[in-house]
Amino acid sequence: MNSSAASSAETASPAGGVLLEVRGVAKNFGARNVLKNISLNIASGEFLTLLGESGSGKTTLLRLVAGFEQPTAGEIWMSGERLDTLPPYKRRVNTVFQHYALFPHLSVRENVAYGLRVKKTSATEIGGRVDEALQMVKMQEFANSQPSKLSGGQQQRVALARALVNRPLLLLLDEPLSALDANLRKQMQSELKALQRGLGITFLFVTHDQEEAMALSDRIALLRNGSLEQVASPREIYAHPATAYTAQFIGQTNLLRGEIIDGTARCGALQWPSEGPGGPAIFSLRPEAIRFASDDVTPHGTARFRASLEQQFFSGASELLEVNCGGSQLLRVRISARGPLSGEHEFVFSIADAIRVQE
């Protein structure tokens, strides 16, 4: 079970059947094109994250799936049924809102029971399922509290229970952790992930926090100005960013702008053999791909350069160096912590780690 879950997280295309299909969806607000021709499939049981800056359209896409907005063009299908023509209350989709949106006039229990009650579920079934949902998020003891008496993290749990109790095919989460402090956020991340694996419910998660996206997702869909920039698993998108934007957005990187001439890539003071087609080129080189050269030999498949230390940022297990390799070309290098450094050093990186990206 564990190994299959782990391996499905590795694969770029999900193994389960397609649950949700977004087909050529566009959304305009007046003259503004918030979403442009988005096509995206979500597999059953997948944890897919819509990642992007504010204004990238990620929340709008979520709201289209929830039914709070209508697409200007395109269609959305779920389990072989047209979704975008249904009102929100007829979709087997539930949402966890950014600021939880708990009903202030109802107790925790009544909040969780809301969805079942409007569907005229029998009282005994409501009781059982609400208890089960509250237990799942460890909120049984607060069942009779008013939402205003709860902390942010507790409200978050109630919001989760209120959505999950309806057994949705798809759970939408709109930046659900953004209002929590750092420690609580980490804890809720791991609980969310455990919950998602345990229940096997498909999650469509919106965040602007790339670390959160990397930690939680089976796949990340990176949005930029209303278009999909790249859709891939966290490892794939980190190791092989398709564009300079992706490389910079996901983790830290050094963007090297230069050109390839006669099988050699030249970017400022750096150069290494490259087989790609000639002409202007951009490469992404992760800070952790660069290390100190251990001796005078340059092994095959590596490139070497000399640079002086400009800045050193200590961050516990590792430290980030800012080095100047001539002219004003600054590179960031991540090394394991080793005490204060200064002066000039020789660095080396594997040329396979210099990933050529599109503008």
């Binding site: 039914g67 929100p88 600021h99 949106a101 409007v118």
Partner: protein, 281 residues
């Protein structure tokens, strides 16, 4: 942060105002209600005679009950008009919201008297409405009950107080976070269920405030019955007015005023409690 002298200085004007224009008149009214009139002259002789008269003569109780009936009708009618209006403006008016809001507010700038006389013109036997009904051959002679009736009073007061009912309800509806409405739809509730389970409960403080406005203001109104009420539309404030005026029986007038005041205070107390019960952060 502020000095004691400063705090004292700024509190003097409001305290003076309240003392001279509110507490003192009330105290005088209260005292008068226990005094008497002998041969047209006020005597400072403490007694309960005024209250005894009040409850032994059916006419006063009758007028007081009629007044409360009229006030209740006005409250109900202005809620029935004001709530849907506020709901529409807050949730569905879209770009027309500002304009419609102003249109609701503008009548408040028109003098009460002007509006009263306008209703006289509309409802009278030679009035616009009767003329129109006869023109359409709905009726062949003027409909008499339109003017100088409790109906006319309720109509005029409803017209005047609907904006007062609308405003607090509108404010309450505007304060409902829209994600709550979306959450309700998301959880499977359609428009009707969302209204009944989320919007209505969360707007109850506004509704109570509006209802209180309409009821209390109608209860003390004497111009509407004077202008369009006629004999059958006389309200308690008219009785008080005539006791203080033509009848020169200030003590009895004061006793009635004290009774009205008690009704209003207990009503305010009750709605305050209810509003607290229904207000949520």
């Amino acid at each position: 942060m502020y000095s004691r002298t400063y705090k004292t200085l700024v509190s003097i004007p409001p305290l003076l105002w309240v003392g001279v224009f509110l507490l003192l008149p009330y105290a005088l009214m209260f005292a008068h209600s226990f005094w008497a009139v002998h041969e047209g002259v006020l005597v400072h002789q403490w007694n309960l005679h005024n209250y005894a008269t009040l409850f032994s003569k059916p006419v006063y109780v009758e007028v007081l009950l009629r007044t409360m009936r009229i006030a209740a009708s006005v409250t109900l009618c202005s809620l029935l008009l004001g709530y849907p209006l506020a709901y529409y403006l807050s949730f569905h008016a879209g770009a027309r919201k500002e304009l419609l809001y102003q249109l609701v507010i503008v009548p408040l700038w028109v003098s009460y008297l002007v509006r009263g006389y306008a209703w006289k013109t509309i409802l009278g036997s030679e009035g616009v409405l009767n003329g129109f009904l006869q023109y359409l051959h709905v009726t062949h002679e003027p409909v008499a009950f339109l003017l100088y009736s409790p109906f006319a009073v309720v109509l005029m007061l409803t017209h005047i107080y609907t904006p007062f009912v609308f405003l607090p309800i509108y404010a309450a509806l505007e304060h409902i976070p829209r994600p709550l409405v979306e959450a309700s739809h998301d959880l499977g509730a359609g428009a009707a269920q969302t209204f009944l389970r989320v919007i209505l409960p969360l707007s109850i403080p506004g509704l109570l405030a509006g209802a209180t406005f309409a009821f209390v203001l109608s209860l003390g109104d004497f111009l509407a019955p004077l202008l369009v009420g006629g004999a059958s539309g006389t309200m308690i404030a008219n009785v008080v007015q005539s006791l203080f005026g033509a009848a020169l029986d200030w003590p009895l007038g004061a006793a009635i005023s004290v009774c009205i005041l008690l009704v209003i205070i207990s009503l305010l107390f009750l709605t305050e409690r209810l509003e607290k019960r229904w207000s949520f952060k």
